[in-house]
Amino acid sequence: MKGPLRVHRLLERLDINRESVLVVRGDTLVTGDALLEDTDEIEVRPVISGGSS
């Protein structure tokens, strides 16, 4: 996607609930107001598990 784009806007565009994921850039987490550039590679990691541990 074309940057710059705030993380929470990206999640809205992907129709992903921000409460259900972590966003990881490299080896760090990024908050919802972090700005993503064209060249950034991020992981949108689901955190919801379906059963108990």
Partner: protein, 292 residues
């Protein structure tokens, strides 16, 4: 690094890790979950919640061993076992392992089909039985599971939709020791799933991210999605739902079921575990799986 909207706060790495440990410490203290000298058996799946819980309990100074149950669910079980063992090695902690296919002759998918139960039902039944048995066999004072705030809110939501009064009367972060059952506690109840995943990412704990293939589309996931849809517009809704239930409503459901005759428990004729019948539900499952 991470914002927690229900706390109206954002945290750097060190402060977030401190926050996580303090929330566990507070849950342990508020609900009297365990004492400093207690031997704790942590139910470990290789997932983010149970590994984070084990890590935090060790950091808080508890004598905490892990228990991993092999469920026989193909690649998923192989991967989850790998993550559990890797963590135990990293922390030089003791991991007890029970392999259901090797020790009882069936895997969860086969057992579920033979007993005409949903896989999650056969899995939960097996886990509860085997966690308790391992704790008794090993002389542990308490079993700790990685149920987090999102898990408990989803269970509460499901029980409330159907007004399962019996379950509502028993949903607590602590189930006391009684009649052949070891005390069971949920020290992560003050922390959400995002927080547990973040804890693992920030501490470098490698956990299994893939979901159990048997869980796809289950009701529990649906309840979590529904609650998260509320939470995104009303941060703190899940915590309020669960903790206000404990504070204001749980005792009313307990009182409503108090007049009922106490269920008589006896020892399973096969394994000795507490049961209302002649044979416990787990031994029935084993027997049915053996004769498809």
């Amino acid at each position: 690094m991470i914002e927690l909207r229900r706390h109206n706060a954002a945290f750097c790495r060190d402060c977030f890790l401190h926050h996580s440990r303090e929330q566990v410490r507070k849950a342990i203290d508020d609900f009297e979950m365990m004492g400093p000298g207690d031997r704790v058996l942590v139910a470990v799946s290789g997932g983010k919640d149970s590994l984070a819980l084990w890590d935090i309990l060790l950091d808080l100074g508890y004598a905490a061993d892990g228990l991993y149950l092999g469920l026989g669910i193909g690649e998923y079980s192989a991967d989850s076992a790998h993550h559990a063992r890797a963590f135990a090695t990293r922390r030089e902690a003791r991991l007890v392992e029970v392999d259901i296919p090797a020790e009882f002759g069936f895997d969860i998918p086969t057992g579920a089909r033979a007993a005409k139960r949903a896989p999650c039902s056969a899995c939960g039944l097996s886990k509860r039985h085997l966690f308790n048995q391992a704790a008794l066999d090993g002389g542990y004072d308490v079993v700790a599971t990685g149920h987090n705030l999102d898990d408990e809110a989803a269970v509460l939501f499901g029980n409330t939709l159907r007004w399962n009064v019996d379950y509502l009367s028993r949903q607590r972060p602590v189930l006391p020791a009684e009649r052949g059952f070891v005390k069971k506690v949920k020290p992560l109840v003050r922390l959400g799933e995002r927080e547990m995943a973040a804890y693992c990412v920030l501490t470098g704990i490698d956990y299994i991210v893939e979901e159990c293939p048997m869980a796809a589309g289950n009701k529990h996931l649906g309840y979590k999605e529904a609650l998260n849809a509320i939470e995104v517009d009303s941060p703190g809704a899940k915590a309020a739902f669960y903790f206000e239930f404990l504070d204001k409503a749980a005792h009313r459901f307990e009182a409503a079921t108090m007049g009922e005759a106490e269920v008589e428990l006896r020892s399973c004729s096969s394994c000795g575990a507490p049961t209302t019948g002649d044979v416990c539900a787990f031994c029935k499952l084993v027997a049915r799986a053996a004769t498809p």
